[in-house]
Amino acid sequence: MMIDRRLVREIDWVLLALILVQSLIGVFFIYSSSHFIPGAYHVRQLVWIGISFLVMLLVLAIDYKYFVSLSGYLYGLVVVLLAATLAFARLVAGTKSWITLGLMQLQPSELAKIVMILVFARLFAEYKSAYLTTQHTLGALLVAAVPLALIVAQPDLGTAMTFIAIIGGAFILAGLRKKAIIVFLLAAIVLGIGGWHLALKDYQKKRVTTLINPAGDPKGSGYQVIQSKIAIGSGGFAGKGFAKGTQSQLRFLPARHTDFIFSVIGEEAGFLGVVVVIALYFALLARMFLSVSKARDRAGVYIIFTASLLIAFQFLINVLMIIGLFPVVGITLPFLSYGGSSLLTTYVACGLVLNVKMRRFANV
């Protein structure tokens, strides 16, 4: 697996640097929010960053075309894994999203995100018309529906939403007519209402109603949002100082080093910190999205676009969720939140973007 020297020269070093800087900021605040409990989470996160980085390099080494050609098999594998998870996994915190293989814990729904990026690149790569036909739309929907249904059944609402975002993005790119958009919106409303009454668990409903009125349940699911908002608001302009946030240090904040890491940043680094992290995100996303102009083919465009959208969507939902503008659905903040499998997915997605970008010259 030799990497051509010309290829190495084409690697987007700025993007790579942004990824690492963002991850290290995460490590600092993971330390700040968890140093008083056993577990050395910051050290573990560093190890995960190292592992994810190596995996990303591995992804870079292989032409994305090869991954795309494998996407059929990968799709089959993911469906089998998701079904197996549903059938065999133990219930953890009310959902069945983890399976244990020997010593390793796998979250197949994370793998599914990556595989769907490749599957859609393949599905739409040969599709050159300006707009999707009904036949194509339905075909692509069917392909997406199987893994999506399995994820919804776990139930993992956050991942399912991320999934829908990637799929929706791919459709937008492929070209949806106005009529189709209206049909999708109507279907979404019907499914939404139906799902509310039939599929959503009580705790999930509560999270949505909490969004509208967090004070209605201050000791339950509203508690997290209230505490998080207090943390962010009391941070002010410059913040309370590193490891000095009362909300995080006195353990008012829930899931401090995972889902709510950005609240810790808001409290301890203030609005300044928020601006820095969001600016870095903006630079990162711009660098990723805008590299669609560097893709040599249609599959490449789809890969760059859906992979960037995956990160953009999770980032937006997370920062909205922790400030009470979106229900608490358990979506982590890419790069910054503690957690190996979310980090790995994020790095592999970035790896795919870098991969496409560095192979922009067809004759390489």
């Binding site: 608001g233 669609v292 465009v301 920062v319």
Partner: protein, 601 residues
């Protein structure tokens, strides 16, 4: 790869991708402005909220319900005690603080850290109980050094106390701290960590009634730990009262009679089945369980060879000895094997199945009928009755009188006892039944095992001429006596014949005469059970060692309109007539005078 040389026209998809990115960029800008609003414009409001955020819940422990005897004498009460809690937030130097507190409270550091670590994920300002059950003398040194230990809080809380010390300890039971495992196993019970709950006895059996509902205060605490106000107070509700059928006076007499021995006294109200007294000796002081034991004290109690924690009345398994002759008589009469007039001749010994068997009275009792055999507790008579009845009929009679199974008393841990028969022996020992064993069973030896409460219940049932009895401590909670299958009921006449023998035993110079009470018509039966084989007993006796048997007495009074049944067992007490009967006599006597004074009023 030749196909790649021709570039596709990707303008349209690229344009769409760019449009989506710019839409996201606008969203990012909107998000940022919302953060601006929250962090800059509303900063003051959230700072105030963060300051006042600290709502601390303080539990107001509910006092447990009282336990009273039948005359409303308090057996279990509450008193004020103190507990010390640690607020981790106020700890400046952890190592120094732990060492200091450990010295101040006399708790070892690992124990102290263990208690604190149980709550390691709760907010730092929440107090963690590190010592409780302290009295005002214990907390004085802590109060005087408040400045040195700003992290400690002293609060008062109700604590269980047993005003009569060890009185009825085995009935009341004791409390112990719920372990985290037990709390997790029963999430529906809502026991808070460290709460004392009933571990044995009535405290355990009626724990749900006795436990009150804890109250709580939600206090707003500022960032320096000062209480700024109270948000809501829910007052604790004391647990419900439990009124026992027990009579504290009888209980005291029963325990005094057993003092210095190992044994059991059970007294039942014949009419209701309510337990009037239940003493098991040696005993313990349940108050000592409240203020945590030192490990040494605990292991001393647990390993004491006399097992003071064991309730012998419901868990002690003993051979019934001659008490079992009542069962033999009931079965023999009911089956028609003998009539009250059937006589046998006792010469002091007899030969059965090729072995010489002795009566306890070596000169022999001469010729006698059934009631005389009961009165004299003659072995020879019952050897011959046992041979005629056979093991199956004997076992069936015992089972019909409630032996071999729990009485269903409202006290946990009761044992079944054992009534052996052929089938049992084949199943468990894989051996056939030998006729000689039947002869041993006939005088209450062999593999027979009964608990004193079973004997007391059986005695009450005989006193009521067959009406079933379920012994109990709490009147209203009892399911009522077990129904008796009419096919299993003994004929009424058998009861009268057996009771005649029991009356003669106590009133005509029989073995039970020690229990006689003037004017109370006591009917009873004694027993003494071998605790070792006759051969080894003989050897010991030759060596000049005193061989003592367990002694039994079980009886009721008066003969007509029975009120009380009393069962006494004294371990290694010697002859039942000499040791157990007089103890029962004291109970009968006390009860009679109580009845008389009640009638006088």
């Amino acid at each position: 790869m030749p196909e790649n040389r021709i570039y596709e026209d990707l303008t349209l998809v690229r344009r769409r991708a760019n449009a989506v990115f710019w839409a996201i960029a606008v969203l990012i800008f909107l998000v940022l402005s919302y953060y601006w609003k929250v962090q800059i414009l509303e900063h003051k409001k959230y700072t105030a909220l963060a300051e006042a955020n600290r709502i601390r819940q303080r539990v107001l422990a509910a006092p447990r319900g009282l336990i009273l005897d039948r005359n409303k004498v308090i057996l279990a009460d509450n008193k004020a005690s103190f507990k010390v809690s640690l607020i981790r937030e106020n700890v400046k130097d952890e190592a120094a603080s732990m060492a200091g507190i450990s010295r101040l409270l006399g708790i070892t550091e690992p124990t102290l850290r263990g208690r604190v670590d149980l709550h390691k994920d709760s907010p730092l300002f929440e107090p963690i109980v590190i010592a409780d059950g302290l009295d005002s003398r214990d907390v004085a040194p802590i109060e005087s050094r408040r400045r040195e230990f700003p992290e400690l809080v002293v609060e008062s809380e109700p604590q269980r106390t047993y005003p009569n010390g060890g009185l009825a300890a085995h009935v009341l039971g004791y409390l112990q701290e719920q372990t985290p495992e037990e709390i997790r196993a029963r999430p529906d019970r809502q026991v808070r960590a460290g709460e004392m709950v009933g571990k044995t006895g009535v405290e355990r059996e009626y724990d749900d009634t006795l436990r009150g509902e804890d109250g709580s205060v939600y206090e707003v605490v500022d960032s320096l730990g000062r209480v700024r106000g109270t948000q809501a107070t829910v007052h604790p509700t004391q647990g419900g009262e439990v009124i026992l059928t027990l009579d504290a006076d009888l209980q005291r007499i029963a325990e005094e009679a057993l003092e210095g021995r190992e044994g059991v006294v059970v007294a039942l109200d014949v009419e209701t089945g309510g337990v009037l007294a239940l003493a098991s000796y040696p005993t313990y002081d349940p108050n000592r369980f409240i203020t945590r034991f030192t490990p040494a004290e605990w292991s001393e109690l647990m390993t004491d060879p006399l097992s003071p924690l064991e309730n012998r009345a419901i868990r002690g398994l003993y051979a019934p000895g001659s008490i079992f002759k009542l069962v033999m008589s009931m079965g023999g009469l009911d089956s028609g094997t003998v009539t009250p007039e059937t006589t046998a001749y006792c010469s002091g010994s007899t030969q059965i199945y090729g072995a010489i068997r002795h009566c306890w009275f070596t000169p022999g009792h001469g010729a006698m009928d059934l009631s005389a055999a009961i009165k004299n507790s003659c072995n020879i008579y019952f050897y011959s009755l046992g041979r005629k009845m056979g093991i199956e009929l004997i076992a069936r009679s015992a089972s019909r009188l409630g032996l071999g199974r729990r009485t269903g008393i409202d006290l946990a841990g009761e044992k079944d006892g054992l009534v052996p028969n052929e089938d049992w022996k084949r199943r468990t020992l894989h051996e056939p039944w030998y006729p000689g064993e039947t002869i041993s069973i006939a005088i209450g030896q062999g593999q027979l095992q009964v608990t004193p409460i079973q004997i007391a219940t059986m005695t009450a049932m005989i006193a009521k001429r067959g009406d079933p009895v379920r012994p109990h401590f709490v009147e209203k909670d009892v399911e009522g006596p077990p129904a008796i299958d009419p096919a299993l009921a003994f004929m009424k006449s058998t009861y009268e014949a057996v009771i005649a023998g029991m009356w003669r035993s106590a009133n005509e110079g029989g073995t039970g005469q020690g229990a006689r009470v003037e004017g109370f018509d006591v009917c009873g039966k004694t027993g003494s059970t071998q605790t070792m084989s006759r051969e080894s007993a003989a050897k010991l006796a030759q060596a000049g060692r005193e061989v003592k048997t367990h002694s039994w007495f079980s009886g009721f009074a008066p003969r007509t309109g029975p009120r009380i049944a009393v069962t006494v067992l004294v371990e290694y007490g010697g002859g039942g007539g000499a040791t157990a009967a007089p103890v029962a006599g004291r109970i009968f006597d006390k009860y009679r005078s109580k009845l008389a004074s009640e009638a006088g009023r």
